[in-house]
Each structure stands twice: as structure tokens, then as C-alpha cells.
């Protein structure tokens, strides 16, 4: 005779060590197995899109910093690209190179945090996390050199960047990209082939290729499912068509592939930075931009391959100094939409690592 059991509702979050901020999952459990899951958003809603309507085009840049606060440079870049497209502002060559270097450094920094916190969710008690943060610190130091800030950089401007890079930046960058590959190898050796990690992450939380495309997932989450889609190649913005790099993809679309894709992408980013460093020209870093940008009536959408996926800004101008509407396509939010399909049928422990492997930042999900 079967014992009569009842499903068990567990609130994971909003304050929970593994929700990476204030996310809440309302999980219905059968023992340890998840039978249903309902994500609850909005605990970090700050109304950034609405705030943007009250500010000048330049004044919005600090707001974009606060979207995905682990990848401020990328957010800056996506926004200024949209403004440039809207107002038709040219960008000097040197600024383009600086932007690419910054965006790729930011990708490495963001992936370091993603990989570290994923392994932490797997239960490797803070060790990978702290080592990743040690490396991230070096990138943050580089950013501090150019922007004076360590988290929210507010560095890029429509028509260029706010300052030229200081003369000690390139030697420091050179040192960093010479050291970094051996560190990535070291972390790879430590855990990538670990039996427990394989058992935990392989085959867990599969996002099938069709579903990944249908929910318009992007970034490492999409590529891990085996789709070779990277906006840097598919619709090159800035000067990405000048660099040689590969798009790492996974096969199965499980947590392990998402982890591997991120590790591989760090290596590719280093390749891009190396090429950009060799080619960077001298010259102006900011074009002739009026103090207050006042684009003609119209609309523009610019998207970039941010560390977490396709980050897009849709701007509408009504011929004033502030955008009439600013919509943000946030990859973290859209990648989360398949959460239920990925989690149902797995245990709580798997749900935690699936969530960790998607790599979201709550600042971007809730905006």
C-alpha cells in the first residue's frame, strides 16, 4: 500500500545564499524532487527604464552601470552604441580599440565570477570562488586605472570614452594577459575533470537546442546548447570584424557545458585582447560630440554580446535631450524563462546548480 504523501512547498529565496541576489523560487517538492517551480521576480526593481526618461543621454550611462553590476563596461558599451546609432555620432579608431579591450576584460571578469559561484553552488566551499576573485581583482585594478572606479565604471561616452588610457595601462594589461592563461589552466586542472563535479553537472539541467532558440536565450547558455550564435560574429558591432577568434559551443546543453563554454570563452577573450593590444593606434579617444546630445526624432536598437548574452538597448528620441523611451533587453531575464523546463524532475541540489549555471545578475533581471 502506498503511503499517502503531500507535495511540499519550499520558498527558495528571496534571501538565500545561492540565489545570487534577491531572487525567489517557489518550489513544489515531492521529497527532494522538484515537481513544479515558479520564479518570482521584482525584489530589486529600481525602475531604471523609467529613470532614463528623465535624464540626458549622457546621464543615463551611470544608470546602465547598475544593470549587470558585474559587467558595467559591457552595459556602457551597449548603451553608447545605441546612442551613437540614434544620433549618428562617429567614434575615433583608438576609442573603438579601447572599448573592445574593456568589453573583453569585462567578459573575463564576469565569467570568472560566474564560474566561481557556479562551483560554489556545487559545494566546493568558496575555494574556487576566492581564486576566481583573486584574478578578477587584477582586472578590476586595470579598470580602476582607466576609470577610477572598481565596480561601476561609467567610462564610455557617446562618441568615444571619457578618458584616454593612462600610459601604465598597456604594460599592466600585457602582464595580465601573459599570466592569465596559466591561471585558467590551473583552475581547469583543479576541478574540471573532478569525478564529483562531473557527476553533479553532466547531464543535469539540459536546455535542448530548440527550446533554447525558442525562448531566445543568448550568450553562453545558448552556445552550450550547441547553437553557434555570437553577435560579435553574427552582427559585428564596433570593430569585432577585425579580430580572429572562435565561438566555443557545447553539445548537450547541460550545466557542465555551460561551465566549459565560459572557461573557453575566457581564453578567446584573451586572444581578442592580445590582437587589440597589438593593433591599437594613437589618436583621439572622443569625437566631436555636443555637450548635450539631441538626436532627431527616431528610434534605434543596438545590441552587443555581453558576458551573459545579448544585451540590447532600444532608444526612442523625440528631439529632446532625454530619451523618450529606453527599453533594455536584459539577457539574464530572458535566459531565465526556461527555468521551469530545466528544473522540473531534478532535486533541490540540482536546481541550485542549474540556477547557478545560467549565471544571472539580479540587477539586470529586475532593472
Amino acid at each position: 500500500m502506498a503511503l499517502k504523501t503531500e507535495p511540499f512547498i519550499l520558498n527558495i529565496g528571496p534571501v538565500h545564499p545561492s540565489t545570487h541576489g534577491v531572487f525567489r523560487m517557489r518550489a513544489t517538492l515531492d521529497g527532494e524532487v522538484i515537481v513544479d517551480i515558479e520564479p518570482v521576480f521584482g525584489y530589486l526593481h529600481r525602475g531604471i527604464e523609467k529613470l532614463a526618461e528623465e535624464r540626458t543621454y549622457t546621464g543615463v550611462i551611470p544608470l546602465t552601470d547598475r544593470l549587470d553590476y558585474l559587467a558595467s563596461m559591457s552595459n556602457n558599451l551597449a548603451y553608447v552604441l545605441a546612442v551613437e546609432k540614434l544620433a549618428g555620432i562617429p567614434v575615433p579608431e583608438r576609442a573603438e580599440y579601447i572599448r573592445v579591450i574593456m568589453a573583453e576584460l569585462q567578459r573575463i571578469a564576469s565569467h570568472l565570477v560566474a564560474v566561481g559561484s557556479f562551483l560554489n553552488d556545487c559545494g566546493a566551499y568558496f575555494t574556487p570562488f576566492l581564486y576566481m576573485f583573486r584574478e578578477r581583482e587584477k582586472i578590476v585594478d586595470l579598470f580602476e586605472m582607466v576609470s577610477g572606479q572598481r565596480l561601476l565604471y561609467n567610462y564610455m561616452r557617446a562618441g568615444g570614452v571619457s578618458h584616454d588610457i593612462p600610459y601604465e595601462f598597456l604594460p599592466a594589461l600585457d602582464k595580465f594577459i601573459r599570466q592569465m592563461p596559466s591561471f585558467i589552466d590551473e583552475y581547469d586542472r583543479l576541478l574540471s575533470e573532478n569525478e564529483i563535479l562531473l557527476a553533479r553537472a553532466k547531464g543535469v539541467g539540459i536546455l535542448p537546442k530548440e527550446l533554447a532558440i525558442n525562448i531566445s536565450a543568448s550568450g553562453p547558455v545558448l552556445r552550450a546548447s550547441g547553437v553557434r550564435w555570437d553577435i560579435r560574429k553574427a552582427d559585428p558591432y564596433s570593430i569585432y570584424d577585425r579580430f580572429e577568434f572562435d565561438i566555443p559551443t557545447g553539445i548537450a546543453g547541460d550545466c557542465y557545458d555551460r561551465y566549459r563554454v565560459r572557461v573557453q570563452e575566457m581564453r578567446q577573450s584573451l586572444r581578442i585582447i592580445k590582437q587589440a593590444m597589438e593593433q591599437i593606434p594613437l589618436g583621439e579617444v572622443s569625437g566631436k560630440v555636443p555637450h548635450l546630445v539631441r538626436p532627431a526624432v527616431g528610434e534605434a536598437y543596438a545590441h552587443i554580446e555581453a558576458p551573459k548574452g545579448e544585451l540590447g538597448f532600444y532608444l526612442v528620441s523625440d528631439d529632446s535631450i532625454a530619451p523618450y523611451r529606453c527599453h533594455i533587453r536584459a539577457p539574464s531575464l530572458i535566459n531565465l524563462t526556461a527555468l521551469r523546463e530545466m528544473m522540473v524532475g531534478w532535486k533541490i541540489q540540482d536546481a541550485i546548480i542549474i540556477f547557478g549555471s545560467i549565471d544571472i545578475t539580479m540587477g539586470e533581471v529586475d532593472r
Binding site: 515531492d30 556545487c122 566546493a124 564529483i196 557527476a199 531534478w346 533541490i348 541540489q349 541550485i352
Partner: protein
């Protein structure tokens, strides 16, 4: 059963042991009780210090270094802080169970040290069934943990406690089987006799038994990679989520005291206990205990955590068959080759261990699979 025997045995056993102690039974009892409590509390503090500093070093950071020289007073600072914290009992908690749980979880760890020898004959009670007593008493703390999980009326606590029960029930068996093969070699259940029998540390004669005991022991006391019951990244803090103040301190103490117990038992069973050249016996004992604990800290900082079904699979599909085979082989060796020099047996045993582990890894992988709903 063990408890009954204990009650019957203590008086007459202790009056004969140890003969050179002044004052007879009660003095002996008093002195050793004080020694044990001081030893456990001091070494737990030492453990906390080692874990925090050691983990700090392994994680490329410094670790606590503000309180006292080299941060040595950090455990004391922690204790003071925790004592001053407010003691919160959830409204819907079962108050009696909630209150009783930390006591029940902590006491067994102290009780076990009654039979652990600090040097030859220096122990509270040289029970002739010592190791059986250890196995019996160490399971009691699980009751405390389950009471905590149930009594706090919190879903995370309950999940942690359920995992704990499942893990302890499964891992008790390989633990006991690994102990049994040691007992076969030593020919005694008394921990003092087992140490005296170790002219060669049993880790050399029983390498497989040592590994099994170490893994299963770690699983029983929630050390990583089997720390599913606390699992801070999943269950927040598992069974002690709802505890604060001194009650939380009791659980914290119990956790480290259990780690101390397991390392003391490993030292006694496999690393020849207090025996060693030059240094005084008790110092050897403490050094070996700390060395075992250091390995635990090391695995904790390195390995990810297994999943609950993988934890069960590891116990039942990997550890249990290997422990049975190990017991069987040990029995055969003792029956057929009693007079063989141990120096011949050591390479043979290591070879057997290597073959068995390789063979079993072929049969069995930590399974991954989706549970259908």
C-alpha cells in the same frame, strides 16, 4: 545492549584500572572527566583555529589574524560573541524538542572519549567492548540532529535532518565493517588493546579499511564532500537554521567535537594511537589527531558536494561491498597466513586495495539520471 554492558562493567573494571592512580575509582573518574572535557573543548578550539586559518591559506587569503597573536584567540572571541547573542526560539517551534536537541547532539561526542586511550591505560574506562560502545554512542547524536530538524518547524531544517538520517543509517554499515576487520587483526574490542596490538600501524595492514573508514566517517559527521545536511549553498544551514546564541554554539561545538571523535578513532584504530618515538604519548596522540583533521580540512576546501542519491549510491554500491570484501580477505589472511611477516603482508594488502578499487570503479560510477515525475 552496549549501554547495559557499560552499566554493568564500569565499577569492577575501573577499580582494577589503572593500578597506579591514587584514590581509587572516584578520583580516577573525577580526574578523567575533567581531562576529557578540557581536552575536547581545547582541541575543538584548536580545530576551529586550524580550519579557519588552514582554509584561509588554501583559499589564497589570510584568515582571522586580529584576535591575539596569529589570531589564536579567534575561537575565544567567537565564543564570547555567540554567548552574547540573543537566543531566538521560533514561535511555531516545538519548544522542548528545540531546547533538548543541542544537548543530545553534543553529549555523545564527550561520552565517546571515555574509552579513547590518551596513553597506555590512561583512559576513563577500559571497556572490553570499547569500540562497540563507540559505534553505539556515536549514533545517538543523530537523534539530536533530527530533533533539531523537526523541532524548529522549518522546511530547510527538516530537509537537512532527513538527509542526515539517511546518511547515518547508510554509512554506519561500512564504518562497522571497517572496524570489524581491525578488530579481527587486533583480536580485541578494547581500544587500549587495539593500540597495544599495533606494532605496525594498522593503516599499513588495512589500507582499504582505513580509506573506507575515513570516507564513511566523514560522511557520518557531515564533513565535505558529504556535508549535505548543512549544505550552506542549498539548505542555508540545514538542521541548525533556526538556532542562535548558545544553542547554535552547542551545535557548532558538536560538529567539531564529532570531527574530533572521528579523527581520534581513526588515530586509535589505524595510526597506532598514542604510540610513537621520542615525544610523550599524549603529544603523539594529539599530533596524529590534528593530522587527520587537517586532511579533512583539505578535502573540504577542494571538493564539490555530492548529491543525496549519489551519497546513498556511494554507501551502498561502493563502500559496503568493498568493506565486506575487505573483511572477508582479512579473515582469510588471518586464518591461513597467521605467521607471515607483516612486511610481506603490507605490499600484498596495498596491491589488493589497488585492484579492488580499480575494479569497483569500473562497475560503478556516481550515477547521474533524471528522476521521472
Amino acid at each position: 545492549m552496549a549501554i547495559v554492558n557499560l552499566g554493568l562493567n564500569i565499577p569492577n573494571r575501573l577499580q582494577t584500572l589503572p593500578p597506579d592512580w591514587p584514590g581509587g575509582f572516584w578520583w580516577h573518574w573525577l580526574i578523567f572527566t575533567v581531562i576529557i572535557i578540557a581536552f575536547v573543548l581545547l582541541l575543538v578550539m584548536g580545530y576551529i583555529y586550524i580550519e579557519r586559518r588552514g582554509m584561509g591559506r588554501m583559499q589564497a587569503r589570510i584568515g582571522p589574524n586580529r584576535a591575539g597573536p596569529f589570531g589564536l584567540l579567534q575561537p575565544i572571541a567567537d565564543a564570547i560573541k555567540i554567548l552574547l547573542k540573543e537566543d531566538i526560539i521560533p514561535t511555531k517551534a516545538d519548544k522542548i524538542v528545540h531546547w533538548l536537541a543541542p544537548v543530545i547532539a553534543f553529549t555523545p561526542a564527550l561520552m565517546i572519549f571515555a574509552v579513547v586511550p590518551f596513553q597506555d591505560g590512561a583512559l576513563l574506562a577500559d571497556l572490553n567492548i570499547g569500540i562497540l560502545y563507540v559505534v553505539a554512542v556515536s549514533s545517538v547524536s543523530t537523534v539530536g540532529i533530527f530533533m533539531a530538524g523537526w523541532g524548529s518547524n522549518n522546511k530547510y531544517s527538516l530537509l537537512g535532518a532527513m538527509r542526515q538520517i539517511a546518511a547515518v543509517v547508510s554509512y554506519e554499515i561500512p564504518v562497522v565493517l571497517a572496524i570489524a576487520s581491525v578488530v579481527l587483526i587486533a583480536g580485541s574490542l578494547s581500544l587500549n588493546q587495539i593500540v597495544l596490538a599495533q606494532d605496525i600501524p594498522f593503516i599499513l595492514l588495512q589500507p582499504l579499511g582505513f580509506l573506507l573508514f575515513f570516507i564513511a566517517g566523514c560522511a557520518e559527521i557531515n564533513r565535505s564532500p558529504f556535508d549535505l545536511m548543512e549544505a550552506d549553498s542549498e539548505l542555508v544551514a540545514g538542521f541548525h537554521t533556526e538556532y542562535s546564541g548558545m544553542k547554535f554554539a552547542m551545535f557548532y561545538l558538536a560538529e567539531y567535537a564529532e570531527a574530533l571523535v572521528i579523527s581520534a578513532i581513526i588515530t586509535t584504530l589505524f595510526l597506532s594511537g598514542w604510540r610513537g618515538p621520542l615525544l610523550p604519548p599524549w603529544l603523539w596522540f594529539v599530533l596524529k589527531v590534528i593530522a587527520v583533521f587537517f586532511v579533512m580540512v583539505w578535502t573540504r576546501t577542494t571538493l564539490p558536494r555530492v548529491r543525496i542519491d549519489q551519497l546513498m549510491a556511494l554507501a551502498w554500491k561502493f563502500l559496503l561491498p568493498l568493506a565486506l570484501i575487505n573483511l572477508f580477505i582479512t579473515g582469510i589472511e588471518i586464518l591461513t597466513l597467521p605467521a607471515t611477516s607483516p612486511w610481506v603482508m603490507i605490499p600484498v594488502n596495498f596491491a589488493i586495495m589497488a585492484v579492488l578499487i580499480l575494479l569497483w570503479s569500473k562497475f560503478f560510477k556516481l550515477g547521474w539520471g533524471r528522476v521521472e515525475v
